[in-house]
């Protein structure tokens, strides 16, 4: 489980007074402001963030330490990260995608099935996309109590009881 979670990206400068355009990857796009201050990928720089207005495909914002248009141009493409502990805690049986991605999936007999590559939802419930060495293609596993009885974030393991015909 990574300590930093990517929540947005700087897509360029906005105006000539050091404002930037940002794209938010949050489920509720405005929530990116609540995770301020954000950092860059290696955590070496911290950017306090204040949203100023909504524009096409994102927001404009004032980032701490970015005073001029040249500064804003220089950080174009920088991904913005929040610390994992800044995300609010969730009720039982609810998980952040970023926590699930990368977990190892074992069957009820203890055999390794693969790793969670992505979490998706096409309208009929959440699905775990599992990528394993012995698999030709990724497998989609319904994220239900029946099919996934145990999720152990501490040890990074998921125990799955997949329905017949999936693997």
């Amino acid at each position: 489980m990574s300590d930093l979670v990517c929540v947005g990206v700087v897509s360029g400068a906005f105006g000539v007074r050091g404002e930037v355009r940002i794209k938010s990857f949050c489920a509720n796009p405005e929530d990116i402001e609540s995770y301020s201050p954000l950092s860059n990928e290696d955590g070496s720089k911290s950017y306090p963030l204040v949203l100023t207005r909504q524009v096409k495909n994102g927001f404009t914002a004032i980032l701490g330490g970015i005073e001029t248009k040249e500064d804003a141009d220089a950080i174009k493409g920088v991904k913005l990260y929040a610390r994992r502990d800044q995300l609010p805690s969730l009720p039982d049986d609810e998980y952040y995608h970023s926590d699930l991605i990368g977990l190892e999936v074992f069957d009820t007999g203890g055999a390794l099935l693969g790793q969670v590559k992505d979490v998706m939802n096409h309208g009929a419930g959440d699905l775990l996309e599992i990528h394993g060495q012995g698999l030709k293609d990724t497998v989609l596993l319904p994220f239900t109590l029946e099919a996934v009885p145990t999720v152990d974030l501490g040890t990074g393991r998921i125990i799955a009881d997949p329905p017949d015909g999936l693997f």
């Binding site: 947005g8 990857f25 949050c26 998980y95 979490v119 994220f143 109590l145 329905p163 015909g165």
Partner: protein
């Protein structure tokens, strides 16, 4: 123009057969279907269908609010990987 009511909902016959067989066997299995055009009927609630999207079968757990929709609506044919960020998944 919408479908005439007197015709009833369209479902491929093999989907009905497979669903009936699965319900009788009461085994926990994914019913693989290729018929994206079939309407979801009340008797499918609780079953899991693997709906073909042109590449693989996407598991679709049928619930009550899906009745009347088509299977294809729940198995998109194009892939898009977004960012995880603070998105949540709920185990039901």
């Amino acid at each position: 123009m919408s479908r005439s009511v007197w015709k009833g909902p369209f479902v491929d016959a093999y989907v009905l057969k497979k669903a009936e067989a699965a319900r009788e066997s009461s085994r926990n299995e994914v019913i693989k279907i290729w018929s994206r055009r079939s309407t979801i009927l009340p008797q499918f609630v609780g079953l899991t269908f693997g709906v073909y999207n042109g590449k693989k079968h996407i598991p679709v757990n049928v619930s009550e609010d899906m009745i009347g929709q088509k299977f294809g609506e729940y198995a998109p044919t194009r892939t898009y990987y977004g960012h995880a960020a603070d998105k949540k998944a709920k185990r039901k």
